[in-house]
Each structure stands twice: as C-alpha cells, then as structure tokens.
Amino acid sequence: MDQLNNAIMKRYSKERKVGEGTYASVYQGHCVETGRLVAIKKIKIGQFKDGLDMSAIREVKFLQELKHENVIEMLDVFSAKQNLNLVLEFLTTDLELIIKDRSLIFRPGDIKSWMAMTLRGVDWCHRNFILHRDLKPNNLLINDKGILKVADFGLARDVADPGMKMTCQVITRWYRPPELLFGARAYSSAVDVWSVGCIFAELLLRTPYLPGENDIEQLNTIFRALGTPSESDWPVCTDRMFEAFANARQGHTTLPSYIKFKDYPKQPLEDLFSAAGNDAIDLLGKCLQYDPHERISAGSALRLPYFSNQPKPTPPPLLPKPLKQLEPRALPPDALAAQGTNKRKAEADQDQKPDLRKVARKLDFQ
C-alpha cells in the first residue's frame, strides 16, 4: 500500500502555492513524466476531532467516480504523512473572473457555449445520481483551451433514498432555489438546475441576478424578480400513487419554513433580458420554475431549441479569456468569512443525524 502511494507521490512535483485555506492549500505542479500541469490540493487532516473532514470525503468520493469532459478531472490521490493530496487537472480561470472582467465582450454564441458545457457537466453528475449543491460561476473552472469544468464537490452528495432527510443549508445563497430557502429536506437534482438558471442570467446581465442579503431577503429578491408564486405555480401534490415520494411532492405552502410574502406581480423575463432571444428566454424560464417538478432537467435543457438554433455555440478555444491569471483564491471555509453578509459561499452542514438517545448502552462483541 505504501509503495503504491509513494509511487503516485513521486509522479508529481509540487511548486508554487496558488490558494490557501484553513482546510486545504492548492499548489501548482507538474506530472514529472508527461510534463502536464496539475493542481495539487493538499487537505490537512489529523486536526479534526472527527477525523477525515466531510467535505474532503465528499470531494474525493465523487471525483473518484466522475469522469467527464465537463467535470474537473482528478488524476490521482496520495497521502504524505497526515495530509491528503488530490491531484487535479490544472485550470487557468473560472467563469466568475470572466464575467467580472469588464474588458471582455460576450457574444450570444459565447454564452451558449458556456451554458452547454455547464449543463453537460451537471447532467453527467445527475445521471450518476449525484447532486452538486454548490453551483455558481466561481465553481465553474475553465482550462487553457476554453473548456469549462464543474468543480468543487465539497457539498455534493448522492440523491437520497425516499424518506431520508437532507440538509437545506446548501448552495450559495444567490444561487439557492426557493424550495431550499423554505426549508425542504427532500429535494432533487432540480436544485442544481435553479443554480444553472441563475448562472445563465448572470452571464446575460454581467452581474449576479438574485443577490439577496440574507435568507429572507433572498426569497424577497426572487419574488420581486419572478413574481410571488401562487398555489397554482407551485401546487400541493395530491397524487398519492407515489406514496413514498409524498414528502418530496409537497407544495411550497406546506414546506417547513414557509412564510407569506408580499404579492409581487409576475414580470415577463423579456423585460429585463431584452437582448436575449425567445429561445434563450425559454431556457431561462424553464430553469427558474418555482415548482421543482416542473423545472427542466439538465439533460432535457440540452435538447431545447436554444442549443440547436443559430448562432452556434462558440468553439471553446475561441471563447473570451481574461488577461489576468487565476489569482490565489480563498478556499472554504475562509471564503465564507471573507464574503461577510453578501456571502457567496454555501454553508456546510450535516444531513440526517442519528438520534443518540435511542442508542442502547450495551454492546457486546464477543
């Protein structure tokens, strides 16, 4: 085991540090043999009272399984003393930097290309029954050839079995769907699609579409933009055929944290996104559906006319690139502190916890 580990370790060189956080540091390095540029994410362990950190486990678990052009590739894992090192493909920039770079001009085909790559990556996760739960421009990394990759699986998890509760404290607030803001504990891949809708809007607007100051304000912001949902927009499901899924198929008014909001009128998306074509508005509207069951899946979204209509998606190497190199970026949970109230970082939380009061005190091994 040690030999295998050391053999992997020797395969890579670790050079300059490109990111720092309390739980991990990221280094730029090379694969010694091929000269390929890599990023080495060094996760400090042994400092946590509960052993290996949940987000490290999640990241490693899912990246070991997901191999797709639009998902960040993990080349290897090795350990050095009490550190876990993830060898990832090196990506030069991210979508947030591109959106913020005012010197760049986006053509409609550019946005279509980024959206197609994002949806392909997200669809691949969903087809593997994995929820990402933290999609945002900052987590969509881009390589030197312009290929976009979904990254940062620290909050990801498998789709839960019916009846199992999941935490609603996931997804960075501005990209968090209303069902999570209302406290839903049973949800689906639709939560990621809402985030993709917000990212699409941000690409069109060049500024975050729904920037709420806090969780309540976030719902207000959403409703101001899209109209307060009525019972018919997000109905209580009376379909008893799928008894097991009854919990998931509930209307918003029955969700745990539901509160009544001011009745904002619906505004057509065309009013704000005046430069976008009908096919683009169609995709956006389908991603930002209130009822999670009506929200389009990533796979179906890719088959909408928007992606086959003119203009064609820009080939990745021709996409706009920022002049600036990727700067050292704060890693979670530091990002959280740095962002203050306008936090762009999702909160890590635990899903279902066992009730210890019910645990009997006596156990016998032999």
């Binding site: 085991m1 580990n5 060189s13 670790k14 050079e15 300059r16 540090k17 362990i45 042994g46 400092q47 009272k49 509960d50 052993g51 290996l52 949940m54 486990i57 490693v60 678990k61 899912f62 070991q64 399984e65 191999k67 797709h68 894992v77 350990s79 050095a80 003393k81 009490q82 550190n83 876990l84 087809r127 593997n128 029954f129 998890r157 498998d158 839960a160 079995d161 199992m164 999941m166 050292p328 635990q350 899903d351 279902q352 916890k353 066992p354 009730d355 210890l356 019910k358 645990v359 009997a360 005190r361 006596k362 156990l363 091994f365 032999q366």
Partner: protein, 389 residues
C-alpha cells in the same frame, strides 16, 4: 437502482471496458471504482488472501528469529500455530456480523451497514488479521462509512456508545487514514441491496404482475438473503445485480424467470449470466451450511492472534527496544536535517514558502507549523524550485 442493471452485468462479465462508451447510460457502472478496482475472480481473491496471510506470518517468524539472536533468554513462545487463511476469514466474517447490531442500535440506514462491510472486506484484500485486528478495522470502517454515506456522528459519541467506555475516539480515528489508504480513497460503493430494491420496484410494473402481497413477501425474503450475502465475498466477485438476481432465484425462481423474460422482450435485455447467478447462490449456501462461528472458536483464534505478533510491536522485547532506538535515531537525524534547513534558509533569506523568517519564528513555538515546513521541503526534494508566490 433499477432493473436495467440486469442488462449491464452481462457486458460487465466480459471485461470489455470501453472508454469510448462512457457516455451511454449502460456504461455508468463500468466507470465506477467498484467495477474498475474491486472485482476479482475467486482464484485471485484466494491468492490475495493467502499472500497477505503468508507475508504477515513470515514477518512474525523472522521477527522471532531475530529476537532469539538479540535475546536468547526471550520468553516468547514460538510454538503457536499461526492463524490459517481460513481462520482469518472466519474471524473477519465474525466481525462483519457484528456490524449489523451496532447499526441497529444507532438506527443507521442499511447503506451505512453495507458500506462498512464492503470497506472491511476491501481492507483485508491486502492485509492480514495479524497486521490489523478485525475489531479495530470493523469499528473504523463503520465510523468512516457513516461519513461517506451522509450519516455523520461525532467520533466521541460513536466511541462512547460502541465501546462501553473501553474504546476511545482516538483508537478509532488512529487507523482511519490507514483504512482510507487501503481503500485507495475510493469511498463510493454499489451495494447489492439497492439492486434488489430496483428489481422489486421493476417487478411492480410488470404487465403480469403478482399481487403486491406476493411481491412484498418475496422481497422481504430476498432482503434477508442479501444480508447473508454480505457475510460472503460475493461482492468482490459478482456485480450488485448478479447478487440480487441470485437472491431472487433462491426465493422464487418462477417469478425471476418471468421477470427476466419480460425484461428481454420489452427492453431487449440479455439473458443474465447463469454462472454468476449460480455462483452467488453457492456462496450463500456455503455460508448458510457452515453457520456462524462459535464464540469459543473466535476466542481461540483471537488468543493465538495476540501471541502471533511481530516482536518489534510487543513491548518489553529486545526487538521492541531496538525499534525504539532506531526511531530515536531517525528522529535525531531529522532534527539535525531541520537545523540545517533553518541555517540554509537563513542564508538564502527566502525559502520556497515565501516569508520564511516570520514562519520560522513561529516554528519554534508551534510544532505544527514546523512539521508542515519540513514536509514541504521533502516534497520538493532536490528540485528546490524557488518561485515568487
């Protein structure tokens, strides 16, 4: 999760892993780490277990010989029979069977139980019970599984309820990293009970479906058999759906045949691999006929296991002393090397890690920081790439 697995498995048997195919739904299981790294033939499996046993036994033997040389008066008894591969397996199975009661007490979902058992079996592919006691491996595998399948619990609580005050959180966490290494940090598993659940759901949509009562009855029995299958090496040889099919065939062959026929005509599924299904049934039957291990038998193996230890790990032996001295020597050398590094970086004024001076100041008071630095230097090794940050 659904019965489509039936189709996949025939392909899976033929080892035709085609990376070009990764984007077709059928190939998703083939991309999994379980398919790529954790499936063996029965012979390979036996070889691996025998190799691990042989190696561990030889290490102890060599240790004893050396001990005798160092200390002719050694009181170590060398006349014990080492644990055989079969005895190792028995012991592992015994501790595998202890996972279920613990999971019941904590009310962990079945996924946690299945995953912990998978981890334990994978660990013993390359290790002997002589190196790592199965009780420890069992507890740490279970603790790790609670985290990898989203049912985290604090290490302190886990140890408290499991250990009756005799097991510390540290002893569980101590080998967590080692276990993870042995798992190649591949935490995702594809348990057979989910495949069985998929087939059960599938059967409810069959045109000629049986009454719900019949299906529920069959499924309840299947679940019992799946639990038994977890006490065998089936999952290291067969795919989840093959195991599920095997269990269904044991409970109601007629229903399964009808189901397979329906999958073939309606969905173009291939005939399941009969050898694999039969292999699963055999493993379950063998386990059933052998029955569980008696407590006394476990205690006997356990007792010999305690005596059959590498003397360098047993306190009070000459080998132990020697190892301690070696460790001290290494420690001394490390310190000397570190001192040298400090001096060198004082000359250079700047190290690879940027602000060397403040960091070094801290390192005198903070052991952690110092450790960290030393490690980095080792990582960079001879390359000494010095770049601005």
């Amino acid at each position: 999760m659904n019965g489509d697995g039936v189709i996949e498995e025939n392909v899976a048997q033929q080892e035709t892993h085609d990376t070009q195919n990764t984007h077709t739904p059928q190939a998703i299981y083939h991309d999994s780490s379980q398919y790529r790294h954790w499936r063996f033939s029965a012979e390979e499996l036996h070889e691996k277990r025998a190799a691990a046993n042989g190696k561990a036994v030889a290490v102890t033997r060599a240790g004893w010989d050396e001990e005798k040389e160092l200390n002719p008066e050694s009181s170590l008894s060398t006349s014990i029979t080492p644990p055989s591969v079969q005895e190792e397996d028995d012991l592992i199975v015994y501790y595998l069977s202890q996972i279920r009661p613990i999971c019941n007490l904590f009310q962990f979902p079945e996924n946690v139980e299945a995953t912990a058992m998978t981890y334990m079996k994978r660990v013993y592919l390359a290790n002997s019970v002589v190196d790592l006691h199965p009780k420890r491996v069992m507890l740490t595998s279970l603790f790790l599984a609670t985290k990898t399948v989203n049912t985290p619990i604090s290490a302190a609580d886990f140890a408290k309820y499991v250990g009756k005050g005799k097991i510390s959180a540290e002893s569980i966490l101590d080998i967590e990293f080692l276990i993870s290494q042995n798992l190649r940090f591949e935490f995702a598993t594809h348990p057979a009970h989910r495949a069985a659940w998929g087939i059960y759901l599938d059967m409810q949509t069959m045109a000629s479906r049986q009454s719900q009562q019949v299906l529920d009855g069959v499924y309840a029995e299947v679940r019992q058999l799946i639990r038994v299958s977890r006490l065998t090496y089936a999952e290291l040889i067969y795919s989840p759906s093959q195991i599920a099919l095997g269990c269904f065939s044991m409970v109601n062959k007629g229903l399964l045949d009808e189901y397979v026929g329906w999958k073939k005509t309606e969905f173009g599924a291939e005939e399941p691999n009969a050898n694999a299904v039969e292999g699963v049934v055999n493993l379950i039957n063998i386990h059933k006929s052998r029955g569980g291990l008696k407590k006394e038998a476990v205690q006997d193996i356990d007792k010999r296991l305690k005596l059959w230890q590498d003397p360098s790990k047993v306190e009070g032996t000459a080998m132990y002393k020697k190892k301690q001295e070696q460790a001290e020597q290494e420690d001394y050398e490390k310190r000397a090397k570190r001192q040298l590094e400090v001096e060198r970086s004082n000359y250079d004024g700047e190290s690879v890690f940027g602000e060397a001076l403040p960091a070094l100041k801290r390192s005198r008071t903070n052991e952690g920081v110092e450790e960290e630095q030393e490690q980095e230097q080792e990582q960079n090794g001879s390359q000494q790439v010095k770049q601005e940050i």
